[in-house]
Amino acid sequence: MTEQAEWLHTQIKTLASQQAQFTDRAFWVALDKLIAEQDRRHDQLQGEVDGRTWRPDRW
């Protein structure tokens, strides 16, 4: 996890814990998980772009 992702995760966790309604807390906790999924997808896509761009046969 990058420093920024970790910081964001802490922000959401804190916000979630401050919600009195169970369903409101659920929303922020689920958003936190979705953002972690975004991070993973971002890394995978970036990795694939890098991998496909690295073409030694075209050097």
């Binding site: 964001l8 922000q11 959401i12 804190t14 916000l15 401050q18 169970f22 369903t23 409101d24 807390r25 659920a26 929303f27 922020w28 906790v29 689920a30 958003l31 998980k33 979705l34 953002i35 999924e37 975004q38 991070d39 997808r41 971002h42 896509l45 970036q46 694939e48 772009v49 496909r52 761009t53």
Partner: protein, 230 residues
């Protein structure tokens, strides 16, 4: 999108899972109805509700590998042959049919060789056949196994997974999940106490940025793949 939730449960007030799901309902565009509390069905009213809905959810506990008798009574009264397909108008065409089913046994029981010996899809085959006959689109089932054993983190997750099952576009991919959250975020931020709203907006900005970055990367990748094909 309009969603109609039809709940079948003979003792609704005693069911902690059904009460939990009722408390988790999204505030907008969802109609909730308990079948057993109706006595006799107002067939015209029920059919009109079905016509108006885009997504229809049948929600019930699994009793002997099927829905409770109340749902079958509703089917037999409301889903008349003429209404569903008899006059060749197929009023339910392309509406989505989703099943929220609670079970007393764990997930691993529902497989060949498991304690129950059959999959939920197999048990729900008659309902899937109705959907097909009506030209509806069958959604992947939403099972809730052993609700009473769920811990708080799992219950928190269940609230949002259930809300998404009722109102999120299908299929359930990252793009659809992002769109669902993006749509709800402004209202969620508005209802935060004033001192928390800045944090809410900051989270929203980061989330939107990440969403845009993923889209841009996916576009780049599509372009690279296209060139590779040439």
């Amino acid at each position: 999108m309009k969603t109609l939730v039809l709940v079948s449960h003979p003792q609704l007030a005693d069911s902690t899972s059904q009460q939990f799901l009722k408390a988790s309902l999204p505030v907008k565009n969802v109609t909730w109805e308990h079948l057993e509390s109706q006595g006799t069905f107002d067939v015209a009213r029920e059919q009109s509700q079905l016509r108006q809905a885009d997504r229809i959810i049948l929600q019930f506990p699994l009793y002997w590998y099927a829905a409770p008798a109340g749902l079958k009574q509703w089917e037999d009264s409301v889903l008349t042959r003429t209404f569903v397909y008899g006059d060749h108008r197929f009023p339910l065409t392309d509406k989505e049919l989703g099943i929220v089913v609670t079970t007393g046994m764990p997930e691993k029981a529902f497989q060949r060789g498991g304690a129950e010996g059959l999959t939920l899809d197999a048990a729900l085959a008659p309902l899937a056949a109705v959907a097909e006959r009506a030209h509806m689109r069958w959604l992947p089932t939403f099972p809730i196994y052993q609700f009473s054993y769920l811990e708080e983190p799992e219950k928190l997750q269940l609230v949002v997974d259930y809300q998404r099952y009722l109102t999120q576009e299908q299929p359930d991919g990252l793009e659809q999940r992002q769109a669902w959250f993006a749509h709800r975020l402004p209202a969620m931020i508005d209802q935060l106490p004033p001192e928390q709203q800045a944090t809410g907006r900051l989270i929203q900005a980061e989330f939107e940025q990440q969403k845009d970055d993923i889209e841009a990367l996916a576009d780049t990748l599509a372009m690279i793949k296209e060139q590779e094909d040439d």
